[in-house]
């Protein structure tokens, strides 16, 4: 494992953990490597939520199980974390935040940290978060000025007084933090990269914009809602029509309608909401109407664990919809790919006239990491629609991909039909037309593999052990490969479906270990089905949490050859 510190803040919903997280990640990113993520309960106030901030001397991409520094923000914020502390852990908190029973059960002591009274010193209890920010900044020797800048920027609209009070609060914390001695000191980073802090949500939003999105219709559902909010907030500036649909069925039908009329639309949801859209996925299939669908996974079945993480809906998106038709599934595992795959999703949907899925999950969407800025390509703004001529046939079968017109643009009519149809788009029951039209649609499955988005290979190409991951397991597996010293290769798959045969070469003669955040190994099954891959081991986790780095290391060790 890397030289790193795991700092966990534990409190309840409504205590503003997210604000501290945002401050800290920005401040830390300037001087260290950092990765943060949070886990929250499905409630608006109360309960117990926590944020983990990993600070390191070298890049980090995952969570640790073990907590080095734990800040308790109330008297019921310890019990869920008991398993993650050892006698090494420093637990900060006010008197009574750790019970005697907890102390003895987990062998930890309470380091008194009277946040409330410190905040009151700064003027009010409400400054507690800023004091804490200051404290940690002090502990890790962060630039005081930068801290002040961040505070100023954030509270700009709130007036001088608020800014000054917060700066005072920060300084109070900072001063106390400086003398605190960090046990495993980490080094500041020496590269001068200006990283941007990016979470999955924002990366998808940026990618969608860079892919030409101008329409979003969605129904709120965690963790899919944030993308809707993001694009709504950019709506006026970028010309994106955002509308909250009355339900998920409307959402996808609206999105399909928008594409039909020449827009680039996306819908965002989670598994349960997506289940309601599956009829419309089939509609996109037969009408050869593009659609981009973001499915933000969380643990099911049904309502399940609504604010937690899982990769349990890969089968769902691969098989969604009645009847048979092609589709594309993309799964980003890092913010760069959030941007790029979202861009490509629109382009692929437009080019191949198929539904394209972006399959993410709560953990990935809500983790923040450092991204090196890069130049966005405008390639994916390319559109494939045509101006129609008189006698235009929407489903012209001279080519597998019939040129797609847009109503109102040209002399022709654009007739799209959910019934089996002839070239013009008129309903038909002719058996021969059916066969030809069905085969034309199905033929896109091969064709679209020409733009297959290749996996990345990390680690030792020669190793006989091959780890396979898709989507959000990227970070933890990358960190494992880079730091564990284990003899492994890691294939990070960005497009889990469909798969081209040439991928088979990666698996030949390997001890194939598929790592997934679900209970059955859904991608392992797809590998078997599509590529005849014999999967030797499945490392699965399905309690609602992502993999921790220590855990993955231990599990991988067990199955190495």
């Amino acid at each position: 494992m890397r030289e790193s510190l795991s700092i966990v803040l534990s409190g309840e919903a409504g205590q503003g953990l997210q604000t501290i997280e945002e401050f800290l990640v920005e401040a830390l990113s300037n001087e260290y490597y950092v990765f943060t993520s949070k886990e929250v309960m499905s409630r608006v106030r109360g309960g117990n939520n926590s944020v983990e901030i990993r600070v390191a001397s070298t890049p980090v991409y995952a969570l640790r199980h073990h907590i080095d520094y734990l800040f308790l923000l109330n008297n019921h914020s310890f019990y869920r974390l008991g398993k993650r502390v050892t006698s090494e852990t420093v637990v900060f908190g006010e008197e009574g935040f750790l019970s005697e029973e907890e102390k003895s059960k987990y062998g930890v002591d309470l380091t008194k940290f009277d946040l409330t009274s410190l905040a009151k010193q700064a003027g009010s209890k409400i400054y507690a978060n800023t004091v804490l920010f200051g404290y940690i900044a002090g502990m890790l020797d962060l630039s005081k000025n930068h801290g002040h800048d961040l505070i100023t920027a954030r509270f700009e609209s709130r007036g001088e007084k608020i800014i000054q009070d917060n700066i005072n609060a920060f300084d109070i914390g900072y001063q106390l933090g400086v003398p605190f001695e960090v046990k495993t000191p980490i080094k500041k980073r020496t590269d001068h990269t200006k990283y941007v802090i990016m979470d999955g949500n924002k990366s998808l939003g940026i990618g969608a914009l860079a892919g030409g999105v101008n329409y979003i219709a969605s129904y709120p559902m965690s963790p899919g809602t944030t993308l809707l909010s993001y694009l709504s907030s950019k709506g006026e500036e970028f010309g994106v029509l955002a509308e909250q649909a009355e339900d998920e069925i409307a959402a996808l039908n609206m999105t399909i309608g928008a594409w039909y009329a020449g827009a680039r639309g996306i819908v965002t949801t989670s598994g349960g909401g997506f289940a309601l859209m599956t009829e419309a996925v089939s509609l996109a299939g037969i009408t050869e109407n593009p659609a981009v669908i973001h499915v933000a996974q969380r643990p099911g079945p049904a309502t399940g664990l609504p604010t937690r993480t899982e990769q349990g809906d890969l089968n769902l998106v691969v098989y969604a919809g009645h009847g048979e038709f092609p589709r594309i599934v993309l799964a980003p595992g890092k913010p760069e790919d959030g941007i790029q795959l979202a861009q490509q999703a629109f382009w692929l949907a437009d080019k191949y006239q198929v539904p394209v899925f972006i399959l993410s999950d709560q953990y990935w969407l809500e983790s923040m990491s450092q991204m090196e800025p890069f130049e966005l390509s405008d390639k994916y703004l390319e559109t494939f629609t045509v101006t129609t001529e008189k006698g235009y046939k929407r489903y012209n079968w001279d080519t597998t991909i019939s040129p797609r017109g847009v109503p109102g643009f040209g002399e022709g009519f654009v007739k799209a039909d959910s019934d089996e149809h002839d070239e013009e788009g008129q309903i038909t029951e002719d058996f021969d037309v059916r066969i030809r039209m069905h085969e034309k649609r199905l033929a896109k499955r091969e064709l679209l593999l020409e733009d297959y988005i290749e996996p990345e290979f990390l680690g030792n190409k020669e190793s006989k052990n091959l780890l396979v991951g898709w989507g959000s397991t990227y970070g933890v597996l990358k960190e494992l490969v880079e730091t564990s010293g284990l003899d492994v290769g890691f294939l990070y798959v960005k497009q889990p479906f469909p798969l081209p045969l040439h991928l088979q070469k990666h698996f030949e003669g390997k001890n194939v270990i598929v790592v997934e955040n679900n209970a059955t190994g859904q991608f392992a099954n797809i590998l078997k089905l599509e590529l005849d891959v014999r999967v030797n081991e499945r490392i699965l986790k399905y309690n609602g949490e992502p993999f921790h780095i220590e855990e993955i290391e231990a599990k991988v060790k067990e199955v190495l050859r």
């Binding site: 006026e236 609206m254 309608g257 799209a416």
Partner: protein, 282 residues
């Protein structure tokens, strides 16, 4: 070739004597009299006998899923408000499966005409009760007769604040046509519920039943009078036909939407500037 009509013979899938035929005539006449350019007209329909209408009119269409015609129509209109958009389907399609979209699209007031063929039955699936079927009608599913209260689409639309609410009957193609014209011209959501007989399956609400149980509103009716319209909607001993209610000046969905506040260009015509997006990465 006459606008909106095909220059080849059509094999129309409706039954002889069906009210869908005069409805089609009225609709085509309305489109012609409004002198619309068929390339600028989009039909959005669901599934059912009624929903086959777009197949028989030469213009753009999206013949989608049962119950979802309104959702597609609303989206099409909103991304390109220059189009004339008509959502069309049956009573089962629009009031049954599609009920939730009806409810919430009325709230949106999209600028489109919503034409519902109300034959008080599910035609294409061979004669089950629809939401508007009257009590007592026996069908292959409601074997002892319908027992649920029929839905009153007119009262419902009024209660939800619809800005144009009309009812027609295919027995009078001329008036039906005029109502369709007014609905298309209305700025905002316009519901036209059209009574028509289904001689094949609905043996109760026949042509003469409709004839005897309806009457046309005359010039004395003031369609801006909401209370009156509601009264008319709720009295069902005889059904009033005509434009029951019409409210002008209510902002339409696209007018009210922030994306069109400053810039009236249809969103599909706006160009994305990659440099502007690039600024978000910092």
């Amino acid at each position: 070739m006459s606008k909106f009509e095909f220059d080849r013979e059509l094999d129309i899938a409706w039954c002889p004597g069906c009210g869908n035929f005069p409805l089609r005539n009225g609709l085509i006449k309305a489109l012609k009299e409004l002198d619309l350019d068929p390339t600028q007209v989009v039909f959005s329909s669901g599934i059912g006998q009624a929903a086959k209408m777009p197949q028989y009119i030469d213009a753009n269409y999206f013949n989608g899923l049962h119950g979802r015609g309104l959702s597609v129509a609303q989206a099409v209109q909103s991304v390109n408000p220059k189009l004339t958009v008509i959502a069309e389907g049956g009573d089962g399609d629009m009031y049954g499966e599609g009920g939730n979209h009806l409810l919430h699209n009325i709230r949106r007031n999209p600028n489109l005409a919503h034409i519902v063929h109300n034959n008080m039955i599910y035609g294409l699936t061979k004669g089950q009760a629809s939401p508007t079927s009257q009590k007592g009608m026996e069908t292959n599913v409601q074997v002892s007769g319908v027992y649920n209260e029929p839905l009153n689409p007119i009262a419902l639309a009024l209660a939800l604040g619809a800005t144009f609410v009309a009812r027609a009957f295919t027995g009078d193609t001329e008036r039906t046509k005029e109502i369709i014209k007014a609905a298309i011209q209305h700025e905002g959501y316009a519901l036209v519920d059209i009574f028509h007989p289904c001689p094949t399956f609905n043996k109760i609400n026949t042509f003469s039943w409709y004839k005897n149980n309806t009457y046309w509103l005359d010039e004395t009716h003031d369609p801006s009078d909401f209370k009156k319209a509601l009264d008319l909607a709720l009295s069902e001993d005889k059904y009033a036909l005509g434009i029951l209610y019409k409210k002008e000046g209510q902002p339409t969905f696209d007018q009210a939407h922030p994306v069109y506040k400053e810039d009236k260009t249809p969103i599909i015509l706006r160009k994305r500037d990659i440099k502007q997006v690039q600024k978000l990465i910092r």
